[in-house]
Point group: C2
Chain length 239, copies 2
């Protein structure tokens, strides 16, 4: 993490001295990644951050700091955050389709966050029947948190709940293992692993897991055609 702070600091300093700078995260920079750290550091140092000029977008700024020169007289940074494919999307695509319904993403890293707060999130997510996506399940220094999370979730979810264990999604070391919640402690889990723990409706189909939206409960589906007699007026979901 100190390396992350150093990298962001270096990028900020490069940019303030007049060079364009690209700060690159694996996956998406905004999901458990460095985009937040850019704002944290700039806010602490009082360095203004502006959006790139973009006539097509209308921004309504909140009450915040007015544009002012930074501490060394520079006028601040122009920041564009470019989204990527987050590990949760890449991992889900390899597992099947676990995230087609409500889900909660929880990091088990308690280096910067109190473990009690993490436990509360795990427990409440399990009670509210979210699919649970676990980031940072284990590392060299953090070895007991995953089993503790497993126990907390088992208190509210069937022991046979499908789990997908995806390591190194879309990378050379990619590994996909399926298991059940009560066997999760035996799964191969490392620092590049993202776990998908099913909700009460998540199902296994052949070599995949998926969470149904419920289409086939509501609409009668027969081989080759859909039965429109039960169809509600189409309400196109936002994508």
């Amino acid at each position: 993490m100190m390396k992350e702070v150093d990298r962001v600091e270096m990028a900020i300093q490069e940019s303030l001295s007049g060079h364009s700078c690209a700060l690159i995260s694996g996956g998406d920079p905004g999901i458990y990644a460095m985009a937040g750290l850019v704002f944290e550091l700039c806010q602490k140092k009082g360095i203004p951050v502006y959006r790139p000029g973009a006539p097509a977008s209308r921004n309504t700024p909140p009450a915040g700091l007015p544009p002012e020169p930074g501490p060394d007289g520079e006028t601040g940074l122009i920041l564009e955050i470019v989204p990527g494919i987050p590990a949760l999307a890449a991992g889900a695509a390899l597992a099947g389709a676990p995230l087609t319904h409500d889900f909660a993403a929880i990091s088990l890293s308690d280096l910067l966050t109190k473990w009690e707060a993490i436990e509360k999130r795990i427990t409440y997510a399990a009670m509210a029947d979210f699919v649970i996506v676990i980031y940072n399940p284990r590392s060299r220094k953090r070895t007991w948190q995953l089993e503790r999370a497993q126990k907390l979730i088992l208190a509210h979810r069937d022991k046979a709940t499908p789990v997908a264990v995806v390591t190194g999604a879309m990378r050379d070391n990619q590994e996909i293992v399926f298991t059940r919640l009560d066997q999760l402690h035996t799964a191969p889990v490392g620092m590049q692993t993202v776990l998908f723990i099913g909700s009460s409706t998540t199902a296994t189909y052949m070599d995949f897991i998926f969470t149904p939206r419920g289409y086939t409960d509501k609409y009668t589906v027969v081989s080759g055609t859909s039965d429109r007699q039960n169809a509600a007026t189409p309400d196109q979901e936002a994508t």
Copy 2:
């Protein structure tokens, strides 16, 4: 939604008759999108679904259906799910960095899901201090759910909690509006809107919102350098 069922059915039928077929979603196909429907329909119809040959990946299949010919004697589908950039990542990148800590994604569409279950997820996510990402906040037929969600969250979160309202992320109709939780009911919200409702730590900085990971609380950060005296042993977060 009937159109979605039709599209997936058509893709399945095309593939079963021997043609490769690409089924395209906006954003990512696995997050509140059609990938799950492929499995739902194939499972209902008893059509086997296989992974593409991939020697580098090790799959441990769960207990499921053995590969068998489908109902018309065909041998099933080979399915590859290709991840994309989900609306939550694109919207977050435009808002700033709201998702750098734990978050819950909740759809307010109660067409296929009981509203009581959705309310429970909203309430528990608020109580456990997740950043909350709201999909499908409103449509022509669903107009009251967002204010109800707002009230539920206000019971557990400060009324000034930052909210980013992102519509048509990365599209021609893109609009980004910032507001606070108690003003959310006045924001321009439509079918292509994704909402980011901050946790208790989500902050506003200039024209952005972000959720701190806590780096700058733990590590002393001074202008130009990072103070290593307080640094813990680096534990590189999985991306």
